[in-house]
């Protein structure tokens, strides 16, 4: 086994363990009630605000964004938390300074949640104007895009960290 392969396997093992730990942290009912649901509500408020700016006249109640013809409910799996957990595990598992990791997590998670607001807004619009396409976009397209964005952000962060390490070691 080459040293590179060993490093990659070590990273994947650390990543898998951290993923399970972080997922276990956000899953319990008290965390869901006191952290995740309020966060989903905040996402609904921002997304509802964007939709209203676009002239959609929606109301937000809890995690539901409702208009006259269509409504979406921001449940777990649609709030981007799963991509945040993924990013936290990947960045924490990668060898870098804790400062670089924290900055990476903050920046990447902010971008992913920004993208998630675009997902919510677009799904509302698709559901209202192209309901036949809603299922495919809700399930396959946007879920994959959110995780693809998380992977790209992680890869971008690793190349930045590697460059910084290369400069520091000169």
């Amino acid at each position: 086994m080459t040293p590179r392969t060993r490093d990659q396997l070590r990273f994947v093992l650390k990543f898998a363990i951290l993923l399970a730990i972080f997922y276990a942290v956000v899953t319990p009912e008290p965390v869901d009630r006191n952290v995740i649901v309020p966060f989903s509500h905040a996402l609904s408020v921002v997304s509802g605000g964007v939709l209203n700016l676009m002239g959609q006249h929606v109301r937000v109640a809890g995690t539901v964004i409702a208009g006259n013809a269509f409504a979406v409910d921001i449940k777990n799996g649609c709030n981007g938390i799963e991509a945040v957990v993924f990013l936290c595990a990947a960045i924490a598992a990668f060898p870098a300074s804790w400062r670089a990791r924290l900055l990476g997590i903050l920046a990447a998670c902010t971008i992913v949640e920004g993208l998630n607001i675009i997902r919510i807004v677009s799904l509302y619009l698709i559901g209202k104007y192209r309901p036949s396409a809603f299922g495919a976009f809700h399930l396959a397209v946007w879920q994959s895009v959110i995780f693809a964005a998380a992977v790209f952000l992680f890869v971008a962060w690793t190349s930045k960290v590697r460059k910084a390490d290369a400069v520091a070691s000169r």
Binding site: L9, L19, V85, A136, F152
Partner: protein, 172 residues
């Protein structure tokens, strides 16, 4: 990074179209592969799985448990991300990349029947009256947590891990 993103988008679009087209085939394969796994659980010894379009049906010929249907495409769409990630590598048509992709695809396809098995157990343990008499609280919660973990994070993490180990990340 821009070139990688463009190749990723092309791979993503092509993979989505192909996935929509082959979803019924994937569902049939999953049903066939999951049936013997489900028979390992004595409660489902006579279970019969069949697929129609993207729906997998679980039938009990002797009525020992309730019938159900599940949209199998909810467990197979991670192949879209897999194709797109390998398409985004620097030389996607190089032999090494294609072999790594095929090995990764085999791993992901092999995990899908396990995911369907977990989903079926989750449904029966947590969402049927029959399950209340057949499963304990711990078993019900374990199946539910496994199912949610796989559907929300695990199915994508597995794709990412395959791609990462294949060395795709260092080619940008």
């Amino acid at each position: 990074m821009l070139s990688r993103a463009v190749k990723f988008i092309i791979g993503f679009v092509v993979a989505t179209v192909v996935w929509l087209w082959i979803s019924p085939l994937l569902a049939r394969g999953m049903a066939a592969a999951t049936e013997p796994l489900l028979h390992l659980d004595a409660r489902f010894r006579d279970a019969q799985l069949s697929a129609s379009e993207s729906m997998v049906s679980v039938d009990a010929p002797h009525g020992t448990f309730p019938q159900t249907k599940y949209p199998a495409d909810q467990l197979t769409f991670n192949v879209i991300l897999l194709v797109a990630l390998f398409a985004s590598n620097r030389k996607p048509w190089r032999d090494r990349n294609i072999i790594a992709f095929l090995i990764s695809l085999a791993i992901i396809l092999a995990l899908q029947p396990l995911a369907l098995l977990v989903t079926i157990e989750t449904y029966y343990s947590g969402f049927t009256k029959w399950g209340e008499t057949q499963y304990g609280n711990v078993a019900t919660n374990v199946w539910l947590v496994l199912s949610m973990f796989w559907r929300l994070v695990g199915m994508f993490a597995a794709v990412f891990a395959c791609w990462w180990v294949s060395g795709g990340q260092v080619e940008s």
